[in-house]
């Protein structure tokens, strides 16, 4: 029962969506299943937040190393949750002034907006901007043209890095029929044009092959899940 019913639910949910794709009469069933999925995805956010709270409260109670930072996590979590759910600092909608809760939770000037603007945005944006430094460091430490394949990779990278900026245009601007008529046949060798050809021919072909391979993998994995062959999500019991 504990494992059979979930297997049946998995198969039913999946096959309803597949059948709905082919039989217009069943389209509504597919829409309903997808909407329930959308709602469960929102509930998953609550699950994630709850799990985070549980984990960090445990770290604080066990006094593990660095539990002070867990305290900061819990405090910032609870403050954000409170100001967001309670719509702190949010005025009612101008159309419905009698309804105190009618204002938008993201309203500019509200406490939730303040946290987004001055805490969330700088923190996430700066966290991602660190990657630029690591890519430069990795390029210096790891990228070696040890063989033909690595040289091809590096050569392509150089063409793209130059061709997608003004440096590429400036370096090969001399390949111009105005300079010599014969150059009319070689304008494709200008770095910006080479970049276009590399992307539209070789990059397209390589990614298309990878895409086809991944698609086959996803199809087989999905079928294994829907047919109950792969039961990883049931856990041990």
């Amino acid at each position: 029962m504990k494992r059979t019913v979930p297997l049946l639910i998995t198969s039913a949910g999946g096959f309803v969506l597949i059948v709905a794709y082919f039989i217009p009469f069943t389209q509504n069933w597919g829409e309903l299943a997808a909407i329930w999925f959308d709602i469960l995805a929102a509930v998953a956010f609550i699950l994630g937040g709850g799990n985070l709270l549980k984990t960090h409260l445990k770290r604080m109670s066990d006094r593990v190393r660095g539990w002070g930072y867990s305290g900061i996590v819990v405090v910032s979590f609870l403050v954000t949750l409170f100001v967001g759910l309670a719509k702190v600092g949010v005025n009612p909608s101008p159309q419905f002034t009698d309804f105190a809760w009618s204002g938008q939770y993201r309203q500019m000037g509200g406490a939730f907006w303040y946290l987004f603007q001055y805490a969330f945005t700088p923190l996430t944006a700066t966290m991602f901007s660190l990657l630029a430094f690591y890519i430069a460091s990795a390029a210096f430490r790891a990228f070696r043209a040890k063989n033909l394949e690595a040289s091809l990779l590096l050569g392509t990278a150089f063409i793209i890095l130059l061709g997608r900026t003004f440096a590429g245009v400036a370096l090969t601007s001399w390949i111009d029929p105005a300079v010599w008529d014969g150059f009319a046949y070689f304008t494709g060798l200008r770095l910006e044009n080479l970049t276009v050809y590399i992307m539209s021919v070789f990059n397209t072909a390589g990614n298309r092959a990878i895409m086809i391979g991944i698609a086959l993998g996803i199809i087989s994995t999905s079928l294994k899940i829907l047919l109950g062959i792969d039961r990883f999500y049931l856990g041990k019991d």
Binding site: A34, I35, D38, F116, M127, F140, R164, T165
Partner: protein
């Protein structure tokens, strides 16, 4: 350039002072040995200066590099430009502040183009933080420069719904079952421009700004592929753009890749609609191409230097 160095002598002094310890290491330890054991924090510092100094230079002088739009940027532009006033366009802004550097200028340019063409804009997003990005783009372009456009008549913000690609799966056949209200809580029944709109197949074009998952790939798989009459153009991050080329042009007629794509598209919109003195907020990507160029040259130089050291060491070992 000379004038800049003279007037901004303090910046030059800071840069030189910060690199003196590195220069001293090269002198005392030898060039090759220092390069072999170089602390990565020196590379971080070089990258910081290679991005910061061009930003400061462009901010002070206002000079940018010229841009020549590529074929794909022009195809994206033409897809929006061929529409007629009053046509419905779904603006799907699937990104968050982490990708705003690349995608913010694209979103700004798309909305400006759509507003100039007097298209009816339906904003929505598959990312939780997307509504904030939509709010800020609307404030930056529509509220600031098109005060005659009315919310509910010319543009509407439908907001965010969770569920990743399942949202697309629903709204491609039944928009109103999922979007019962707009992002302000007004029932869709009360919004004039939602009259008669039951699904996104009725949109003349989908303009997607995508930072990852869910994004352009999902729009192609669940909206465009099963319903080929749906047309889609997209702006994607540098990480995602190469992966989308296999969809071009049958499933994705137009694609802007990374900040370069944004700069090319900005150039097209500015040349077509904004004249000789556009507001600087529409030139954000063009300004950002300056630090791009210098940083790219630095990375190429780092790779070349590292490989020269590698070759010298390999030959040394062979002997």
């Amino acid at each position: 350039m000379i004038e800049f160095i003279v007037t901004q002598w303090w910046l030059v002094a800071i840069v030189i002072a910060s690199l003196i310890p590195l220069a001293m290491r090269f002198v005392s330890g030898g060039l090759l040995e220092t390069l072999r054991t170089l602390d990565r924090r020196w590379i971080f510092l070089l990258l910081l200066w290679s991005v910061l100094i061009p930003i400061y230079f462009i901010g002070v002088t206002g000079r940018t590099f010229p841009e020549v739009p590529s074929v794909l940027a022009r195809a994206t532009f033409d897809e929006i430009d061929r529409l007629s006033p009053g046509d419905s366009v779904l603006m799907a802004f699937d990104y968050d502040p982490a990708s705003e550097g690349e995608l913010g200028p694209m979103a700004t340019a798309f909305v400006r183009h759509a507003a100039e063409k007097k298209l009816k804009m339906y904003f929505m997003t598959l990312w939780p933080i997307g509504p904030q990005m939509i709010d800020s783009t609307i404030a930056k372009v529509i509220t600031a420069d098109f005060p005659e456009l009315a919310y509910g008549r010319d543009y509407v913000n439908l907001g965010y719904k969770s569920g990743y690609e399942a949202v697309i799966k629903v709204i491609v056949t039944n928009l109103r079952e999922l979007y019962t209200t707009d992002s302000r809580g007004t029932g869709v029944q009360e919004i004039p421009m939602m009259e008669g709109i039951t699904n996104i197949q009725q949109m003349k074009l989908i303009v997607n700004v995508s930072a990852g998952y869910p994004g352009t790939k999902e729009w192609v798989q669940y909206a465009v592929t099963p319903f080929p009459q749906v047309r889609l153009v997209a702006g994607a991050t540098g990480v995602q753009a190469p992966l989308l080329y296999p969809y071009v042009p049958r499933q994705l007629p137009g694609l802007l890749g990374a900040i370069k794509g944004a700069a090319e598209y900005e150039k097209l919109v500015v040349d077509a609609y904004l004249g000789a003195n556009p507001h600087p907020k529409y030139l954000e990507a063009l300004r950002r191409m300056g630090p791009q160029l210098v940083a790219h040259l630095l990375i190429i130089a780092l790779i070349v230097v590292a490989n020269v050291v590698f070759v010298i060491d390999s030959r040394g070992k062979k002997r």
